[in-house]
Symmetry: C2
Subunit: 510 residues, 2 copies
């Protein structure tokens, strides 16, 4: 089963892209065997208690495509010809209302599901119990972004449909309080959701007999998130908090238009009403008991060191969203969960933030691994900076440099491009950079090759071109930029820029 799943995953991107004839030579993911290496199975014991999921193939992308590239792949025929098409609609349900937190894109053109989910969390935060959510509806194939008034109506309909059809489940709380729903959408921009398709599928997904908590159901749910991703991104772990075991599971997706800069729920300033993929989504669920306000603080901190530190191609999506649910069901006595919730003053809070941050980093790195056309995985650390803001800002500029990313692709130790890009950042960031103190090193994270310093205190170091050439042939490369002007640091993850990226984004209309 695993192997057939993997083979399906590995052909996902080339199928989506529709250029099968040249796919073999193009597909860096297949060449580097990424699906087999990174689509890891999860253990049933790591799945948090009190969450159930369901997913289905609704045919969303086919329903909104005016001109399918290949008429044989229209919704009905695709389902008929493929006995197990990739799901594109999923429901994640907590058996009790869960403390909820979220971070959302700060793009001006926020998609309707972002606007709706943001508002649910804002409204919840005003209540005594804080933001509580029971369900998350996810779809891929259509981002419901830049869809104007229609898009907002459709998003609100989705919420109502879930509330209406969520059937009593053996473990489901019956209270109508806190049965809020959040939305995650990804896919084509500028086209409305195919509501008839979604209306038809939600009663099925919300059926208590369909909702399950086994690893295979979670894996299918992770697949429902995928668009041009070449493998499902799913991780789970168990860790101790206050001496007791809690579990955490996470799904994310994204491969292009990846350069998130998310904030917590915010009062909307302006909301809007083409075609492109939009893009980074993440859902994390834990059975730890955390008070909603503390949960939001924890997520903000974790995201600032993970999802907000990745870049594939420098563009921020209209849909970037990370949702975190904590339902407190790790303890058997769920009725007392709210009273025992961790808050910011709890001794368990910092350990929880650490565990969450590490987990978010693992999930966010999977997106960079699966970056469109990526053949390299680059970790860049800016150390000894005057502030996190400066370190993050300089790296955020560097990772969008086409010249730097081409050099990495070409295995060229072109550190001049690193300096030119960093040095060209906003003056508010570079004013604290003393060019005569900067050092730059290339590091092999596996330790096979020794680190090589190419610039020390602003002066070029004569290096052995062959040595550095060998280091750069590695798939994973680390770059350290030492500003020697402070004590803060930031680490960013990015990939190279390849011809395949151009193929994907120029030759195929997403």
């Amino acid at each position: 089963m695993i192997s057939s799943l993997l083979s399906r995953s590995s052909i996902a991107r080339r199928a989506v892209r529709g250029f099968a004839s040249t796919a073999v030579q193009l597909d860096a993911s297949a060449k580097l065997n990424k699906p087999a290496r990174f689509a890891q199975p999860i253990s049933a014991s790591d799945i948090p208690k009190g969450f159930v999921v369901s997913s289905t193939y609704a045919g969303i992308k086919a329903a909104i495509s005016p001109k399918p590239a290949d008429p044989n792949t229209s919704a009905s025929t695709a389902a008929a010809s493929n006995p197990n098409p990739k799901p594109d609609l999923a429901l994640i349900v907590s058996t009790v209302p869960a403390a909820a937190a979220g971070t959302f894109t700060r793009n001006v053109f926020k998609a309707a599901p972002v606007v709706v989910s943001n508002q649910v969390l804002l409204d919840g935060a005003k209540k005594e119990q804080g933001a509580r959510v029971q369900t998350v509806l996810v779809n891929s194939g259509c981002a419901n972004a830049v869809t104007g008034t229609q898009g907002m109506q459709d998003a609100e309909s989705c919420v109502e449909l879930v509330k209406k059809h969520l059937a009593p489940h053996p473990g489901l709380a019956q209270s109508s309080e806190g049965r809020e729903t959040l939305l995650l959408s990804t896919g084509v921009i500028g086209v409305p959701l195919p509501m008839p398709t979604i209306k038809r599928c939600i009663p099925h997904l919300a059926n208590g007999m369909i909702l399950r908590s086994d690893p295979e159901s979670w894996r299918e749910t992770a697949r429902a998130f995928m668009t041009t991703d070449t493998f499902p991104k799913l991780r789970a772990k168990t860790f101790k908090l206050g001496g007791k075991e809690v579990r955490m599971i996470g799904i994310d997706k994204g491969a292009g238009m990846i350069h998130p800069a998310m904030t917590g729920p915010a009062v909307p300033s302006a909301v809007s009403s083409g075609q492109l993929h939009a893009t980074m989504l993440g859902l994390i669920a834990t059975d730890a008991a955390v008070q909603p306000k503390a949960l939001q603080v924890a997520l903000n901190r974790a995201v600032s060191r993970s999802f907000n530190c990745i870049s594939v191609d420098g563009d921020m999506s209209t849909n970037d969203t990370i949702i975190l649910l904590a339902n407190g069901q790790s303890a058997a006595s769920s009725s007392t969960a709210v009273a025992n919730e961790i808050d910011e003053s709890s001794p368990d809070f910092e350990p929880f933030v650490s565990e969450l941050t590490a987990f978010c980093q693992e999930l966010s790195k999977l997106i960079v691994r699966d970056g469109e056309g990526a053949e390299k995985f680059v970790e860049i650390t800016c150390t000894n900076a005057p502030s996190y803001t400066v370190a993050h800002g300089l790296l955020s500029r560097l990772v969008t440099s086409m010249l730097f990313k081409c050099a990495i692709h070409g295995q060229d130790a072109n550190w001049g491009r690193i300096l030119a890009s960093v040095g060209g950042a906003d003056p508010s960031l570079t004013k604290d950079v003393d060019a005569s103190k900067v050092s730059v090193s290339f590091v092999d994270p596996t330790g096979e090759f020794e680190s090589i310093t190419v610039l020390r205190d602003g002066n070029p170091v004569k290096v052995d071109e062959d040595e550095i050439g060998k280091l750069l042939t590695k798939e994973d490369i680390k770059v350290v930029i030492d500003l020697q002007n402070g004590k803060e640091d930031c680490t960013y993850w990015t990939c190279d820029l390849s011809r395949e990226y151009i193929e994907i984004n120029a030759d195929y209309r997403s």
Copy 2:
């Protein structure tokens, strides 16, 4: 002669890049016949009075390359095998000290020639007569950037060598006052200038018998600026100022690492001491008489609407410099020139700024035309913005979007990518964007096809895919983003992102 010059130009990039075997299929410039279309001859009557130039092949790039890709192209053999190699060292001399202005990169890692030239203008501005300059020394092949203390010493040596060897010329003023020299360097970063080579050549260049003012000498000087450029960028024009004819000539260069953001001469905050090309240089000379302070104001204004509004790949070079010299020699009675110089209150000032701005736009667009791998030329206007800063900032973000540039390359009207990129700009810029008011149109600048609005007041417009597809097959495309939220505007020029760009910047170590 012209045709042989053009054929040399057209093979310049592929020769520099060193992948001749696949050059034909790669070279967008050759395919689109750019050298023949854009390397226009100039008329002798448009050359400003009182300027003379000289150029030579010094073999700078060969002298600093530790491992020439092809041993047959080392300095001496290249000169031997090619009877007319591209010059790489040139001198531009005004017969009298000229009013001088400059704009320089705000990159933290400013190259030594930038630091030296900036200081000359700062020092000059403190004098009663303002900044006056007589000579500009230009070299290509080595940027003298990130070269530490050695680089600064070398740059200062260049200045001294020019002063020492500049021989009395028939029309040359004999005063030692105002005989200042500015430096322009472009080429490889992180490697010191080959000073023995330069020392050997300067006496030759500075010889009064070699310095000439004919079109062919100017054209050879323009070629001395070139690195990966596929054609020399030279323009000249005559216009009337206060009823009298004045002339203006301009050279610029650049093809990659192009996203300038220059400012006028500034007190240095920090100065620094790899391999890459660095990159945009421009020299403009006029025989109009303009007071130095007014000249700097005029240049700042012109650059903000031209060179600071172009992008090939989003990276700002360490060497970006535009120099403007005005020697007042249009009038026969040069002795009274200083007294008659235009200042900011003169009625001739605004007309001069307009002429200069149009000229700078023409020159800067040549760089985008010659963008590495570029097959498209895109003009993007942001209209009805609350301020120039907002319009410029939003476009400056959009033109670095790989997704947008790939869509243009793929002739895909993917306006969703335009919105996602603009919407993801810095919040200080997007806070004044009302997403529900934004409109986006595609325009055919030739007028062959009608304009097509794809987004109106924040709502997608149903468009004829075939019509827009036809419009996007054109080489030149215009995009208009109407914010409907103010009265200011900005226009940016950029190109597409192609596989050839990756070839150039990943496979070849610049």
